[in-house]
């Protein structure tokens, strides 16, 4: 069983469209959506939810006003400015560290469990899927990603699937790091723009920092052929295997509007290129 994680650094380069296409092309896979903050993969794979789990990680302080004598110790100690002058906790700012709870001389502060999201085991037309939705303005997205990754891996092992295919998050922070753990390959999807190259370079650094082999592909390459060539040059200089290029194709958006993957929707250029990239990936990982 191989684990492929699709990341990009920069958002909007086509990670999710490609992940869905790979799920459609792989004969036997479990797909995981680790972009728990703005999960979109379900819009293409239209999963039927089989199991739904509450994700409770972290806590939030609550001050019992009947016990509080307003000494101010909690306000002084809190480094996250989460307690107002009238001794009310702002749940968005509260980091759940419990420092206030430990220092409160009257025992007025309780730490309460917080529900910060949900995760799902589902069935799609291409096989099983594990996905999640982080609550609005919630923390611990890295932990939720780890839960999704772990469950997908277990299911792939139990069901003897060949692949775990993971849609990663944008950026280089905790959700991305959590989605990379244990991966056999990180596929970096970028676009032929200065921002795309800049962001790809940073996320390649992250993957390498955690010893995950990387490959790169340029999506919408024909929007700027020179920039695509520059990115290929970058790959050569930095020993990043360049795995292919995919043309800008409006049928990608049309497929999305119909809730389909590009490989199901059209026989255009983009489809052919996606199929080639998948063949290359399958052979090389």
């Amino acid at each position: 069983m191989k684990q492929l994680v699709v990341i990009s650094g920069k958002g909007g380069t086509g990670k999710t469209v490609l992940t869905a296409s790979f799920a459609a092309l792989a004969e036997s896979s479990v797909v995981a959506d680790c972009d728990v903050d703005a999960a979109d993969l379900h819009l293409l794979l239209q999963p039927t939810v089989i199991e739904k789990h509450i994700f409770a990680a972290g806590k939030c302080a609550r001050i019992d006003q009947t016990l509080c004598d307003q000494c101010g110790e909690c306000v002084d100690r809190c480094r996250f400015d989460a307690i107002s002058e009238d001794f009310v906790v702002d749940p968005i700012s509260c980091e759940g560290c419990a420092f206030c709870h430990f220092v409160c001389p009257t025992g007025a502060i309780e730490m309460q469990e917080r529900t910060s999201g949900e995760w799902f085991v589902s069935e799609t037309r291409f096989g099983p899927m594990v996905h999640a939705q982080l609550g609005i303005a919630e923390e611990n997205s890295g932990k939720l990603v780890s839960v999704v990754r772990q469950k997908a891996k277990e299911m792939a092992e139990a069901g003897k699937h060949d692949w775990v295919i993971v849609d990663g998050a944008p950026g280089i922070g905790c959700p991305v790091i959590a989605s990379l753990s244990g991966a056999d390959c990180a596929l970096v999807v970028t676009e032929p723009t200065l921002s795309g190259l800049h962001d790809a370079d940073r996320v390649i650094g992250v993957a390498r920092h955690f010893n995950v082999p990387v490959k790169l592909l340029v999506n919408k390459y024909d929007l700027n052929i020179e920039m695509t060539a520059e990115i290929e040059g970058y790959c050569e200089m930095n020993n990043v295997p360049f795995i292919g290029r995919i043309a800008f194709d409006e049928s990608v958006v049309k497929a999305m509007v119909e809730g389909k993957t590009i490989v199901e929707f059209s026989d255009g250029r983009a489809k052919e290129e996606v199929v080639n990239v998948w063949r290359e990936l399958r052979a090389s990982i």
Partner: protein, 281 residues
């Protein structure tokens, strides 16, 4: 006026809008790029950067001569960042949130806090027009670091509320985006007319309603996709403040790091009008 530019989904054109607003301003302005994981505004701003400050967060360091391995620090740490063994204490610095509980509560005074570097804040200036100045600040998270909110807070410490401030917010609706948006007078949500754009827009709208920040929408790549974003905004009474059409020349200019207002100068007046409309309510 503190105006943040955000979007649930990445790659919808936040940075395009934030930088175009700053560059077209007919007055002094400050632009903060709070997308510290993948900062890109500098590509379009090309300010002369003249200051760089390393940013650190506190992490515990155990003095093993004073420590009696009582386990208090492990017990109080909510993030499992400390493990106390029989004759050793392990600190997992990447899990530490820097709350300070362990050092304060250690009965032997054996824990002191030391700095862990997480990234840097850089700043510079750019002349815009004849007499106005754009002051630019951005944060860059070090590769391999997981937590961006402390760095976002560090960028915002340089926020100057006496001038107009524009904030480029990281994508999503979790802690980094919230940290960047909070305190804004208004938020522009940039989206695209696709199912992904719509879904992530609904999440961003929920976040802004929770934070109580007024907001409006910019539809980028208008003409692509479908009409669902427009329908949603109408139904929810969310104003669409600007539509930027899907045009190859805009995409090409972006790819080369050229602002939309340089590539298509007619947008300068559009963005200036947009800012004035928001400012005057």
């Amino acid at each position: 006026m503190i105006l943040s530019v955000a979007s649930g989904k990445g790659g919808t054109g936040k940075t395009t809008v934030a930088t175009a607003l700053a560059l077209s301003m007919g007055q002094d302005v400050q632009l903060l790029d709070c997308d510290v994981e993948e900062p890109n505004a500098h590509i379009f701003i090309r300010a002369e950067m003249d200051r760089s400050i390393r940013v650190c967060t506190p992490v515990p360091e155990i003095d093993k001569d004073k420590c009696d391995f009582c386990g208090k620090c492990q017990e109080v740490c909510a993030f499992n960042a400390i493990a106390v063994l029989k004759e050793d204490v392990l600190v997992f610095r990447e899990l530490c949130h820097g709350c300070g509980s362990c050092s304060f509560l250690c009965p032997r005074g054996a824990i002191r806090e030391v700095d862990k570097e997480i990234g840097c804040v850089e700043m510079g200036t750019l002349k815009i027009g004849a007499r106005d100045t754009l002051r630019f600040v951005h944060g860059k998270l070090d590769v391999g670091q997981a937590m961006s909110p402390p760095l976002i807070r560090a960028v915002k410490e340089y926020q100057d509320n006496t001038s107009s401030v524009i904030i480029d917010v990281p994508p999503g609706t979790s802690c980094p985006a919230i940290e960047a948006m909070r305190g804004s007078d208004f938020c522009l949500l940039v989206t695209e007319p696709t199912p992904f754009g719509l879904y992530d827009l609904t999440l961003a709208v929920e976040a802004l309603r929770k934070l109580g920040i007024p907001f409006g929408v910019i539809v980028n790549r208008s003409g692509l996709g479908d009409a669902e974003v427009e329908d949603y905004c109408r139904k929810e009474s969310i104003p669409i403040l600007m539509r930027i059409p899907f045009k190859r020349e805009i995409a090409v200019a972006y790819s080369e790091g050229i602002s939309i207002i340089e590539a298509m100068p007619e947008y300068r007046a559009e963005f200036r009008r947009l800012f004035e409309d928001i400012r005057t309510g």
